[in-house]
């Protein structure tokens, strides 16, 4: 999947390094996201998955390497250029990030009001169309506080696709949902991807759901891509890390314990 016919990959991450406050979080990451595909980035909590999405969106600058979106190097863009690129992106935040002072309807209408001059009747039709796509047309009058977690995420999804973006990024779309909502979101992601012809990037640590919809999966661990392949490849993988992650084993290459001193010494009060 590393071959690159010009324009084949909508997003490319090239030898990317990034760290907060000097501590490197990513070290030389390479990934490609072909047009029209659903690609997943998986890894443990704190492995820097959300940070990768923020790098793609140009909210932070890489220390080394680059991210290209539709051929443009993100961190070399002016502020205006980054805003132009972001208009091609939709992002579903981990906790929805709905505007709490606006109704569901106004949340979905927000990007349209900001970026288009559509008359009110068109906005009305478009909002209801998007809400209908996520099955929440009937909830358009509610405030975000009145929604369940799964509904809030679907509204956020409707908002993310309000302007028909080329790329939709999903940050932990399954985390904290009941099994039914999870299935609904799963179906939505795949259906929207295929119906709208978008490119989807899913960040997740839920193996089963992610494997069921992804075309290709990257595993990140210790700041690098530890493994990659189609879900079938990875299911069969004998790499110890992948095996541990896919089968949810407690100990393996990724230790259960955070790095600590000797336990016995600590109990005896000998450790500072």
């Amino acid at each position: 999947m590393t071959q690159n016919i010009v324009g084949h990959n909508l997003v490319e991450i090239d030898n990317l390094s990034f760290g907060y406050k000097g501590r490197l979080l990513h070290q030389g990451i390479n990934m490609v996201f072909p047009r029209g595909k659903v690609v997943a980035i998986m890894g443990g909590s704190g492995s820097g998955k959300t940070t990768l999405l923020r790098l793609i969106g140009g909210q932070i600058r890489p220390a080394k390497g680059e991210v290209r979106v539709d051929g443009h190097v993100v961190h070399q863009q002016s502020r205006e250029g980054i805003y132009q690129l972001r208009r091609k992106m939709g992002m579903l935040f981990q906790h929805g990030a709905l505007f709490t002072d606006l109704s569901v309807y106004e949340n979905v209408a927000f990007p349209m009001r900001e970026h288009t001059d559509f008359p009110e009747t068109i906005i009305h039709d478009l909002v209801l169309l998007k809400l209908h796509a996520v099955g929440l047309r009937g909830a358009h009058k509610l405030k975000p506080a009145e929604l369940s977690g799964g509904m809030a995420r679907r509204v956020a999804l409707a908002r993310a696709i309000a302007l028909d973006p080329d790329i939709v990024m999903y940050d932990e779309p399954f985390a904290g949902l009941d099994p039914i909502s999870m299935g609904v979101i799963c179906d939505l992601i795949r259906t929207l991807n295929d119906a709208l012809g978008t490119t989807s990037i899913i960040v997740s640590h839920d193996v089963k759901e992610t494997f069921s919809i992804a075309d290709y999966v990257y595993f990140v661990a210790n700041g690098t891509v530890a493994a990659e392949g189609t879900p079938d490849d990875l299911n069969k993988s004998t790499l110890p890390f992948v095996h541990q992650f896919v089968h949810g084993e407690k100990d393996g290459p990724v230790p259960f314990h955070y790095v600590a001193g000797d336990y016995k010494q600590a109990l005896l009060g000998l450790e500072a």
Binding site: Q59, A97, F99, T100, P111, E114
Partner: protein
Amino acid sequence: MIVNSRLHLFCTIGHRFTQRIWRLGAGARLFWLTIISSGESFRRFHLTIREVYFTGVMSLIIIVVSAFFVGMVLALQGYNTLQRYGSSEAIGVLVALALVRELGPVVTALLFAGRAGTAITAEIGLMKATEQLSAMEMMAVSPISRVIAPRFWAGVIAMPILNVLFCMVGILGGYLVAVPLIGVDAGAFWSQMQANVDWRLDILNGVIKSAVFGVACTMIALFEGYDAPPTAEGVSSATTRTVVTSSLAVLGLDFALTSFMISI
């Protein structure tokens, strides 16, 4: 050991000091960004009007009630002193001048900081903590021009209006104590006030003061919210800092403005 702890103290003070300077710089930067991103607040003026409505309505009751009491107390205290010199009719002037020049702008600003300022800080802080500002950024909408600037101008517009309201209600409170209660002549009360309160020197200066306080209080509230660590604890301590910093800023600015206005 002693050298060590002195060194430590020195470092702590130095650290605090540089942090203050740093925050001052960050605040000034946000202020500048807000000013240059203000186009949208005026082009889509309904965004600003909406915030004027919220901040104004939020502070309305507390300001009206406080003004009423402040006016009444002023009349009581003023009468007590003035009657000794046989000039109790001057009570109208005293109440009006005290309110229009000092108490109106200052007390309004202090109440505004406590009521609307804290609400602004908490709102912005929570919007940040729940990634609403980040989401806006990712939608290619600048949170500074869409969220910060309209609230800023709303505060700057609302403060003088609230100040004028404060003065009017305060004068009414003073009137009720002085005339019906104490028995000062109503004609003397109003005519002395009219004759001795200057439009430019007193009223306009008071309104200018309150506009400056509006800039300071709103900007401090917005900065504290925008700068708050995105946690419950971070937002709550930012809210406290809003009240403390705004109050000190208002009192300090009041002294500076008063000395400037008296000298010209």
